[in-house]
């Protein structure tokens, strides 16, 4: 039996994430708190498969696999899952595991279902420059943090809607408290902004050295995302963007950040050769 391809490992990962999301959904529909341990186990298994899949892809493209939209989305999902697995249990937020599994399953499957997103694979993308690779990985990791923030914000909006409409029983009773969601949301926002600032700082050094190597549109999109999140953080700290508005910003900005990946990906700086993907089922 030939070894599994990177995409097959990523399919397995998405299946595990989907199983975790299904476990959470069944518990939710039955109005009961699901087994956090079972969802965590499915997430951890999916994460292990995804890590191995991305590792295989990284070996194949000779660098961090961030060369096309498929890889960008997969890496963002991996970042969100990493963060949840490390700090999620400490947050002690019910439904966050379910939400993470759902987000990872949806984004992972969407990326897998669009073969054209993975039609071209760029090798030696960073030209052997570890700093650029670090900059890109950090930026995508911050997107993963913002993904978790969007989840927490969505939970906040549902909880807020329930409380304003006097609905606190049934599935609403399984939601975390408004205050907990607010505190975790602020921490995630601060962490995401810090990571993205660090990424931009590292990237700016390269840009100053070789301005021509950075596409203006990519630069504007990335800085735009950073400024929007930084503004949200500033307003939140000054008490000007709180409650429902902050949650709306958390979800809306993540959608905008995801949408910005397409133009960012399309305007990558010239790098190594473009290779067609290997057929599904064969080892790379």
């Amino acid at each position: 039996m030939p070894p599994l391809t990177d995409r097959t490992w990523l399919w397995l990962a998405a299946a595990c994430y989907l199983a975790g999301a299904a476990l959470g959904a069944v518990s939710l529909l039955r109005g009961r708190r699901g087994s956090t341990a079972a969802i965590y186990l499915m997430l951890a298994t999916g994460y292990a498969f995804q890590t191995f899949g991305l590792y295989l892809r990284g070996v194949a493209v000779h660098g961090c696999p961030l060369g096309n939209k498929f890889e960008l989305v997969q890496f963002t999902v991996w970042s969100a899952a990493s963060l949840y697995l490390v700090v999620g249990p400490a947050f002690r937020l019910s439904l966050l595991g379910f939400g993470t599994a759902l987000l990872a399953a949806v984004l992972g499957l969407v990326a897998l279902f669009f073969p054209e997103w993975d039609a071209e694979r760029r090798t030696h993308l960073f030209g052997g420059n570890a700093w650029i690779e670090f900059h890109a990985a950090l930026a995508l990791f911050s997107y993963g943090v913002f993904g978790l923030l969007a989840l927490v914000s969505a939970l906040y909006l549902v909880r807020h809607h329930g409380l304003k409409n006097k609905r606190v029983g049934g599935a609403f009773s399984l939601l975390p408290s408004i205050r907990d969601l607010d505190v975790i949301g602020l921490r995630l926002l601060a962490a995401g902004v810090t990571l993205l600032a660090l990424s931009l700082g590292v990237g700016s050094v390269w840009w100053i050295r070789e301005p021509a190597s950075v596409n203006l549109f990519k630069l504007l999109a990335t800085v735009g995302v950073f400024l929007a999140y930084a503004l949200a953080l500033g307003l939140r700290l000054r008490g000007r963007l709180v409650g429902r508005r902050q949650a709306l910003a958390g979800t809306g900005l993540f959608l905008a950040a995801l949408l910005s990946l397409t133009p960012v990906n399309a305007s990558r700086h010239p790098a190594g050769p473009v290779t067609p993907p290997a057929p599904e089922g064969s080892a790379r």
């Binding site: 009773s173 939601l175 408290s177 008490g239």
Partner: protein, 344 residues
């Protein structure tokens, strides 16, 4: 099932059979309980547990024969001063597996006035412990009560019989928890010194509320209530200026018009930044202007809202009763088979 084992019985009266005025007469404080025991035949009732709560006075025991049960009834009426015919009218009496089913249902809160409440579990435990100390719990009742405790825990774990709060005060606390997570840093302002406000304040304190302040239009009453609740008093006319310092505001005044206005709350929010504010309006007429609910980061619940949540929770509990009774019946029948096998 026909009982063929020892004469295990339950005898007594509860809120199901007797009105409050009569239940008051039935109560057996320690000295009367001691007198009752002194009147009982020495060998006829080898095992006897007395469960004495505000809603029930019940005996669970093992009798040598029906005459001993009659002796218990006679002694009980003599001690309480109740007419035997009057007691016969309110008496609940079961034997064998039916008695076991009753005890298990009582311990699980299925027979409680507030369906599914858990306080009764502790009361049954105390009653059993008292009987043990007095040497009135023997091999049969030891097994029966241990199994009753296990069954009650099983029912609580496997059904939703005690999920959701069913009293207004506890619903208010549960609501606060859905907003603040815990109450260890929550500051509470109680407006008015009404009974329902006081009960709610006590419920908040029992869940670890950080600080409680009382503001009442009659300063003496505010001071007196604040002292009894280990709280601080605030002059009523000053509370609008201090609204921003509190996380939960409970309105329970008898004021004929609203005392908390949207403008004052909007000003308070300026000082609170991101921290939400919960208003619980337990007064009739209402203390808090309905427009307050429209403000960002503010949640307003009035008496009707809390009542509806309590009713929903109660309905959810009631929907679990059949399932809980099925579990209880299976456990009780199994227990009865064990008793017959060991002591029959």
């Amino acid at each position: 099932m026909t009982p063929t084992g020892p004469l295990v019985f339950h005898l007594g009266a509860s809120h199901h059979t007797a009105p409050l005025a009569l239940r008051e007469k039935l109560a057996l404080p320690p000295e009367r309980a001691a007198e009752l025991h002194s009147r009982l035949p020495a060998s006829g009732l080898p095992e006897l547990v007395l469960l004495n709560t505000c809603n029930r006075v019940e005996f669970y025991g093992v009798a040598a024969g029906p005459a001993d049960l009659a002796a218990l009834e006679t002694a009980f009426c003599a001690v309480t001063g109740l007419d035997p015919a009057g007691f016969a009218a309110i008496r609940a009496h079961t034997t064998g597996p039916a008695a076991l089913r009753h005890l298990l249902a009582v311990a699980a809160g299925l027979e409680s006035q507030l369906l599914g409440e858990t306080e009764i579990f502790g009361q049954v435990k105390d009653a059993y412990a008292a009987a043990q100390t007095a040497g009135r719990a023997g091999p049969v009742l030891n097994r029966v009560f241990q199994k009753a405790f296990q069954a009650a825990k099983h029912v609580r774990t496997h059904t939703a019989i005690n999920e959701g709060q069913v009293s207004v005060a506890n619903v208010a606390v549960e609501l606060a928890l859905t907003i603040f997570g815990d109450l260890c840093s929550a500051r509470i302002l109680l407006l008015g010194a009404g009974d329902i406000g006081e009960k709610t304040a006590k419920a908040f304190q029992s869940r670890g509320a950080a600080a409680l302040t009382v503001a009442n239009r009659t300063p003496e009453r505010a001071l007196s209530l604040a002292q009894s609740l280990d709280a601080t008093a605030l002059p009523f006319e000053h509370f609008p200026r201090h609204l921003g310092e509190y996380d939960i505001v409970v309105g329970s005044t008898a004021a004929p018009e609203t005392v908390v206005h949207a403008a004052a709350v909007a000003a308070a929010l300026e000082r609170r930044r991101a921290r939400p504010l919960l208003f619980l309006d337990l007064a009739l007429p209402r203390d808090i202007a309905p427009e307050v609910a429209e403000l960002e980061n503010v949640y307003l619940y009035n008496l009707d809202d809390l009542g509806k949540i309590a009713a929903q929770n109660l309905a959810a509990r009631e929907a679990e009763v059949t399932r809980a009774r099925t579990l209880i019946a299976a456990k009780a029948d199994d227990l009865w088979r064990q008793i017959v096998a060991r002591h029959g």
